[in-house]
Symmetry: C2
Subunit: 152 residues, 2 copies
DNA sequence: GATATGATTGACGTATACGTAAAGCTGGGG
DNA sequence: CCCCAGCTTTACGTATACGTCAATCATATC
């Protein structure tokens, strides 16, 4: 598909997307835009929506994603690669979506939960460092043996 | 079950385990030992064996785990918490099990693979840092708002 | 208007990682 | 000798996270 014919063959969503914002900083995205950008399938994105992690607007049935939706998807993909379940991620997004609304009690809960998550992530970094340490050992042992064998 | 009767009701594996090594630095472990230590079920440990990640010795059918088996299980649990599949972990354990054996070609491959894994783990740390950064923001916003509301 | 592209909704299938229930050895205590 | 605790295998079930059709619809070009 050439660049010339591309625009011609766009669907409703993509047309709407290109109408708003000139390429540099788009305000809206089609499902294919996000799928391409984050390396996930359309199916996965719709699945996240079915699980309540996303809730894009519609245009003639087609999904229209805002920047906020895109930010949420970025979080989903990142957290998944760190081993979190969609259930975990949903909790995080709920917290992320509130961004300090509500009364004192709610704010304190959110502060506590975010602090807890930070602690868990620091623990994970620790685990990664341990793993890296072991790998460095293996790596050095191998390289030394290679050097020794080549020296003969 | 009391401490007195515990020894009496031990199975073959546990008896064997207690016979070798006096509590401080055991050489062998029963499946329950490892399950307790790493917070996983017996079922999970057997499953890892079925997938080729562990291969303990047997005594009258009962599994006897060596320190090396235990080290491997530690790696499995850790890597799983970082989001790796058992398939991924199997590859890592294969590499870990060799520890620089074989000829030059093999050593170079192992060195390259370990280097690659290190790079991937560093990338994961980066992702974690991004996530932490967002959480810090949320946390601070909440705490400031709480402070503001309480100041009135 | 036929055709092609891209989107949508079901519905069913699949891979991973175990859980769970059933049935059977085994070794020591009473 | 029997029982019980703990281990075993076998087998089927389950939750998560999608993959894969199939049918359908809208839009846009030929």
């Amino acid at each position: 598909m050439t660049v010339a014919t591309k625009k011609a063959k766009m669907g409703a969503a993509r047309a709407f997307v290109e109408a708003h914002g000139e390429a540099e900083a788009p305000d809206f995205f089609s499902i294919s835009d996000l799928a391409d950008e984050f390396g996930v399938t359309h199916r996965a994105i719709r699945f996240y929506e079915a699980k309540g992690l996303l809730s894009p607007k519609r245009l003639n049935g087609a999904r229209i994603y805002s920047r906020r939706d895109r930010a949420r998807l970025r979080i989903i993909v990142r957290a998944k690669s760190l081993g979190y379940t969609l259930e975990d991620i949903k909790d995080y997004l709920d917290l992320y979506g509130q961004q300090g609304e509500g009364r004192i009690k709610q704010l304190e809960i959110t502060a506590a939960r975010s602090a807890k998550m930070i602690a868990e992530l620091e623990a994970k970094k620790q685990q990664i460092d341990e793993q890296i340490e072991e790998l460095r050992l293996i790596n050095e042992v191998c390289r030394r043996k290679v050097a020794k064998k080549k020296a003969r």
